[in-house]
């Protein structure tokens, strides 16, 4: 239960961090809150030669709103979001989701950027940011780039991050006052990863409607048919059209047969929550 031998650096600036990462290449891992990487190191499931600790980089803390986009520093913790220490532009969705992540001790250290970089499909932020159509700003040796979260995660625990790149910001479009969100989640117990979760965002002001299903081991699925229907026809889950759209989308998402009733219930509940 002790990590294998490794070097540790805590650079003072973002450019130092990028330089560090670039020179150490694939032998290196970035650590922020360490809530996933820490146990993996101790279990020796991850054995990087070098750790670059970005948790003290001031550029990656705090958040600001500009041009209708909230830019959240990658090292903002779940607890800071929960406690509204940063602006909320999601009509309460992000603080609500943050409050349901693991336990407070984890939320005190775990960061939103770290969670997305880890790309555990069951993580609350992955499903939520995809539903919000959020993007990431990455900084690397080649400069800065933006990428949708949905494109950033390529498979369970795999991302499109390049050598030397660091997630610096999570970019969340501001909800319009007419927006509604819905959420439903089933975990075996409080604080556990979700077996099934659904986040729905409908924002007529921005012409956005996204209903996203999150699961334990597959990447979140945007339920396209359902998303279109809730935008055009509303939130009546007793409607046959909507019910069959859910079935179609679950089939497209290749949901395990034994989990179908659970996922359908979670999606329906999230849609009903839109109306609440």
């Amino acid at each position: 239960m002790k990590p294998a031998s490794l070097s540790y650096a805590r650079p003072a600036t973002l450019s130092d961090a990028v330089n560090n990462l670039q020179s150490l290449a694939d032998q290196c891992r970035v650590i922020a809150g360490g809530q996933s990487l820490g146990p993996m190191l101790n279990l020796r499931l991850a054995q990087p030669k070098h750790l670059v600790d970005i948790s003290q980089l001031t550029d990656l803390r705090g958040a600001s709103v500009e041009d209708g986009i909230l830019a959240i520093g990658a090292c903002v913790t779940h607890a800071e979001i929960e406690d509204r220490k940063i602006p909320d532009v999601t009509l309460g969705l992000m603080p609500f989701v943050a409050r349901g992540i693991a336990y407070r001790a984890v939320r005190n250290r775990g960061t939103i950027g770290g969670s997305l970089a880890h790309a555990d499909p069951a993580a609350d932020w992955l499903t939520t940011t995809i539903a919000m159509d959020a993007s990431l700003r990455l900084v690397g040796p080649a400069g800065s780039r933006e990428i949708k979260v949905a494109d950033f995660v390529t498979a369970a625990m795999e991302t499109a991050i390049e050598d030397g790149e660091v997630i610096v910001q999570v970019l969340v479009p501001c909800f319009s006052p007419k927006a509604a969100w819905g959420h439903a989640k089933y975990a075996k117990k409080l604080g556990d990863f979700a077996q099934s979760m659904c986040v729905a965002v409908v924002d007529p002001g921005r012409k956005v409607a996204r209903v996203v299903l999150g699961r334990r081991s597959e990447l979140p699925s945007l339920l396209r048919g359902v998303s279109e229907l809730v935008a055009s026809k509303g939130y009546d889950t007793t409607s046959e059209t909507l019910r069959s759209a859910i079935d179609e989308d679950l089939k497209a998402a290749q949901a395990d047969r034994g989990d179908q009733t659970m996922h359908r219930a979670i999606v329906e509940r999230a849609i009903r929550d839109l109306a609440a």
């Binding site: 279990l43 117990k189 009733t261």
Partner: protein, 749 residues
């Protein structure tokens, strides 16, 4: 101090072809052949046909479960030890593993133990009464097959040991987290081949155990051996992965039960076929076969059932050893008799409470010897169940069931009545009848008055969180009237504590409590002699109460008596026994044990879409005879309930088809937390046992036995309108969904 880390098998079943030590660290790695003088552990039983196995400290020739230790690496830090362990290369020839019970029962290779010729550890049969008559007269026949999956005993604190060799005293000192200091001393001495005189086991505070820390585990033996070999202190602290993957496990039963009842729902007979997956080895001193014996030996529960045919096959598999865990097999027996009761209630159209009332052993029948030779000593099972039904307001729950819940969930109610045989050992169909290595017997206590009139109690049973320090002092108070704050309770060092068998089988309060009372009573003699002398009266005229010796005129404090003995023996009376103010006594509990009992009532809400189960209300009415410390009794029951809740709804050691564990961290092995716990309603009845001192009965396993049965019954009560039922623990959301899907496919609603 040096640190140990273990090289563990990645295979469930494989031949070890070679172990290659890293060249630079060869002297810091030890494999099986290096452990000179170390014997294998062999845990035996005299059950007919029982097959003992040799449990090697480090695997030799073959590995029999994933995680089995193969080599030990020693480093100057824990990380260095792990580094070195990581450099050891082992070549394997993978063998087909025995994973499922069906595999194990086939009687064809692969065999876990090559020389056995099958995978059957022991096959126990039990018969009594006129089963043919019961069958012939049966109007209602209920047949159920249920499964309790493998669990981990999971104490918050894992295992740990630190051994060093004391050259001055020529003894090996082992500090270790354990429940049984003296049995561990005996076991280590046998395996290490050194006399017990030279082996000192020190057990400090232990952060829970539940049965986990009761056997001689390989790592402790290896670390103790290394401390002797290296003449350096060696430490090993288990991590959670090692605990979940490598520790002995518990439960893992399958059972088919048939109940035969007459038209009134009176159960005339039972048939019960149990299979226990005992894992690869038998822990010392608990050969795995006792689980099957206990399952059958309590299968009739609190009910007056006079015919039985039972069979329990214990099989071995390529999984960690099976071991006793809080409740040991009784949760199986409890599900067995309680699902039969609910089944008969349904068939006969009788309320589940009523069907139990018709079948209970009645107070006037006690002491009542069951068909399995259990002497149910005292109590009123019917009163406990009625009270539990009141506490959950059964009529209100039944009324609520008829209404539609706004959230679509289904409400169910379930009961479990059972007894808990406590503090037994040498009685019929108990430990001695199984002929295991170590049978619990008498317990000693030493009571020593100090020079300032306070008391030190030294006892043989250990506490791993039960509050012995508090409750044993109360026993001294009961006899001597001494303020419990002036009583120190000491245990856990085989060099200084009197030798007892340890804490298990809910025995400490009955046996050690009895021994403390006996020792304190013996102590009253010198107290009276000295007290009378100081008071200038006859010994027959003094009384001991309130921590003083009272004479016809005046009284003296214990401190004055202590002062006389310790400081001024010249002032003591001529007839003073030279033994002085130290009294040693022991206590033997009633052979068949004393029988606590309980009624549990569960109200659950089942989400039929997700399959999740929420316990809305839970009541426990318990009778453990005289409650010495009600707060500790409550703690025992609530804590036990959390184990039972985990068993019922959450906890499962899962394995894939290759015998690889798939719940290797607490992210996958789901344990209930504080947030999972309902606010359990507790009530007590207090029927003193006629067979124990002060009428005390044990209470350690009570809370853990009932919940799998009561919650399973409640879930199935909720699912009844859908025609679905789940007979498998944990009753997971997936199992509930699958049961509903099966019922729908079969044409249910």
């Amino acid at each position: 101090m040096m640190h140990a880390a273990f090289v563990r098998s990645p295979h469930a079943h494989a031949r070890i072809l070679s172990v290659r030590k890293p060249r630079d660290f060869a002297a810091q790695v030890y494999a099986a052949e290096d452990l000179t003088g170390v014997a294998r552990m062999r845990s035996t039983a005299k059950l007919p046909g029982f097959k003992p196995s040799d449990w090697p400290i480090l695997a030799a020739g073959k590995v029999r479960h994933a995680g089995e230790p193969i080599a030990m690496a020693i480093g100057s830090t824990p990380a260095e030890a792990e580094d070195i362990a990581g450099l050891v290369e082992v070549d394997f020839e993978a063998l087909r593993p025995v994973v499922t019970m069906a595999d194990a029962l086939k009687k064809t290779p692969p065999f876990v133990h090559d020389d056995w010729g099958d995978n059957i550890l022991v096959d126990i049969k039990l018969e009594g009464g006129d089963l043919a008559g019961a069958k012939a007269n049966a109007v209602h026949i209920v047949e159920r097959t249920f499964r309790m999956n493998r669990m981990h005993p999971l104490a918050l604190e894992g295992r740990a040991c630190l051994a060093h060799y004391d050259s001055r005293l020529d003894e090996l000192v082992v500090h270790v987290a354990h429940q049984l200091p003296v049995p561990l001393q005996i076991g280590l001495s046998q395996v290490l081949g050194i006399s017990q005189r030279r082996l000192r086991v020190i057990v400090p505070d232990v952060g829970a155990s539940f049965g986990l820390k009761t056997y001689v585990e390989s790592e402790t033996v290896a670390v103790a051996w290394a401390a002797m070999k290296l003449r350096r202190p060696v430490r090993w602290i288990q991590d959670r992965y090692e605990s979940l993957v490598c520790d002995a496990n518990c439960r893992d039963y399958q059972c088919k039960i048939i109940g035969y009842a007459d038209a009134n729902g009176r159960v005339l007979g039972l048939e019960c076929d149990v299979v226990v997956d005992s894992g690869a080895y038998s822990p010392w001193p608990w050969p795995a076969g006792i689980e099957g014996g206990l399952a059958l030996g309590n299968i009739q529960g609190c009910y007056d059932i006079r015919a039985l045919r039972g069979r329990a096959i214990n099989v071995v598999s390529n999984k960690p050893a099976g071991q006793p865990f809080r409740g040991v097999a009784r949760p199986l027996s409890c599900i067995g008799h309680e699902i039969v009761m609910d089944g008969i209630a349904e068939m006969a159209g009788i309320d589940p409470v009523e069907v139990r009332l018709r079948n209970f052993v009645q107070p006037e029948q006690m002491p009542y010897v069951s068909i399995t030779k259990k002497t149910l000593d005292s109590g009123d099972y019917a009163a406990a169940l009625k009270r539990a039904a009141e506490l959950i307001d059964l009529p209100a729950v039944r009324a609520r069931q008829k209404t539609h819940e706004p959230d679509g969930r289904l409400i169910g109610v379930g009961f479990a009545s059972f007894y808990e045989q406590t503090a037994y050992g040498t009685g019929p169909f108990g430990y001695s009848a199984w002929g295991i290595e170590l049978v619990p017997g008498m317990e000693p206590a030493i009571a020593r008055l100090t020079g300032d009139g306070e008391l030190i109690l030294e006892v043989g049973s250990h506490s791993h969180g039960q509050g012995h320090e508090t409750v044993f002092a109360q026993v001294a108070h009961e006899v001597l009237g001494i303020d419990p704050r002036k009583v120190a309770v000491r245990f856990g060092d085989t060099s200084s504590s009197p030798a007892g068998t340890g804490t298990y089988t809910s025995r400490s309060m009955v046996t050690t409590g009895g021994a403390i009372a006996e020792a304190c009573r013996l102590l009253t003699k010198p107290l009276a002699v000295v007290g009378a002398h100081l008071l200038q009266c006859n010994e027959s005229d003094v009384q001991i109460r309130d921590g003083r010796v009272h004479g016809p005129q005046g009284s003296v404090e214990f401190s004055e008596i202590g002062r006389a003995w310790y400081h001024h023996p010249e002032d003591l009376p001529a007839n003073m026994d030279a033994t002085g103010l130290t009294a040693t006594a022991g206590h033997k509990a009633h052979d068949p044990g004393v029988f606590a009992y309980s009624a549990h009532a569960a109200v659950v809400a089942v989400d039929p879409e997700i399959g999740s189960v929420e316990v809305l209300d839970y009541a426990i009415v318990a009778d453990c005879g005289t409650r010495v410390n009600p707060l500790l009794v409550e703690g025992q029951i609530i804590g036990g309930f959390s184990n039972g809740l985990g068993n019922a709804l959450y906890e499962e050691n899962t394995y894939d088809e290759f015998g690889q564990p798939t719940a290797t961290t607490l992210a996958d092995y789901t344990v209930p937390t504080a947030a999972s716990m309902p606010d359990v309603k507790l009530d007590f009845m207090e029927t003193p046992s006629p067979f124990s001192m002060f009428g005390i009965k044990g209470v350690g396993e009570n809370g853990a036995i009932g919940p799998p049965a009561s919650i399973m019954n409640a879930v199935n009560d909720a699912l009844r309108p859908l025609g679905a039922a789940v007979f498998e623990t944990p009753v997971s959301a997936r199992r509930v969904r699958d049961a509903i899907a099966r019922a729908r496919a079969a044409g249910g609603s």
